[in-house]
Amino acid sequence: MKKTILIALTAATFALTGLNGATFAKAAPNEAAIAGFGGYDGLMKINLDLVARVKANPLIGSLFKDTDATRLATLLSDQFCELLGGGCTYTGNDMKAAHQGMGIKTHHFNALAEDLQRAMDAAGVSQSEQFRLIGKLAPMKRDINDQ
């Protein structure tokens, strides 16, 4: 009986998310580590929101003008998942190589961080989980910043 309900619920969930077009058919090897973000699906939703925000951000929007939103959100989700211990593997370019020569300064880096904070707020991510992720991302500034 219990099993039947579980299967029915799972099927219903898939059906619903499928209707929204918001299922990404991927789970992190260690979903528990990113449970505070709603798992891998949650990270994807946060990062799609983030990419929309950075594209609209007057300070950094031009840097993302031609960026494919889904591709970037996927790369970011893989990266965040890896950093948070979710066991994913980031397959994008090396951070330093990817940002070299773009003239990125601390205020650009922070503008993205603030958009991420807004996206996490919108997704209802707790303060402690938000600080955990921001703490992992902070050292990347050294590679991204043009000195």
Binding site: K105, H107, Q130, A138, R142
Partner: protein, 293 residues
Amino acid sequence: MANLSKVFKYALAPIAAGLALTSAAWSQGYSGKLLATGGVSTVEGAGGGGLAPWALITGYGTENQIGGAAFATIVNLDDYRLRSVGAAVGFYDRVEISFAQQAFDTRDVGTALGLGRGYTFKQNIFGAKVKIAGDAIYDQDRLLPQISVGVQHKQNDNGNVLAALGIPHDKGTDYYITASKLFIDQRLLANVGVRFTKANQIGILGFGGPNGDKLKPQFEGSLAFLVRRDLALGVEARTKRDFIGLDESTAWDAFVAWFPTKNASLTVAYVDLGRIVIPGRQRGVYASLQLSF
């Protein structure tokens, strides 16, 4: 009013200099630091907590921007009232210059000391701070804290009164080194510093005294917890040396600082400044409003 115009005169110079440089840096944007990472303004004008400066540079300017802060602080103690107003400019997240004017109202104690009721000691503080190593925010994968060195030149205009109390100087200079580190994962900001000073009650009662006339190292530090990115709770302590022989002792406080935007912060604290001339510790409420960019 004369007092106020004097304050503005002093405060306007760094602000004007800041604005001139800012116009050059404006094309680089402004207020690029993350919320709250400019800190609040100490009673001596430097960026930090309320009593102890941080190694962080005041305001919200990043490496190619200029930031700044202006503040008004009032500390209502059992028997005294301290008011401090001032401003600071942070250049390229590297150098900070600051000014503060303090007015220490002795209220009824002034009568008892024969100075007259409400006799007010005034002090001007010119400060500078330079970041020399590390980054408190971004070096999350390194142990090295952000380290800054600073100087505060203090001019107290009460030489005659102080001489009568056996205090030799109404001017003095403090030198300090301070280290700050934000542990983002733990949501803690830790700060420790050493100040070389011979100030009595941070200079309000002059410099040096019967018990000594040499700079002595004093500890100052703070620990703050980020409840949210716009709200910090913390404690601070600052040791003071008894140069006069009136049992001057450690000051501490417990504070709440709220940063609704990068342009304003409000800090409220319970303070215990230790004994100040008359017996008993001076406790009270500290409130500080800061405007910043």
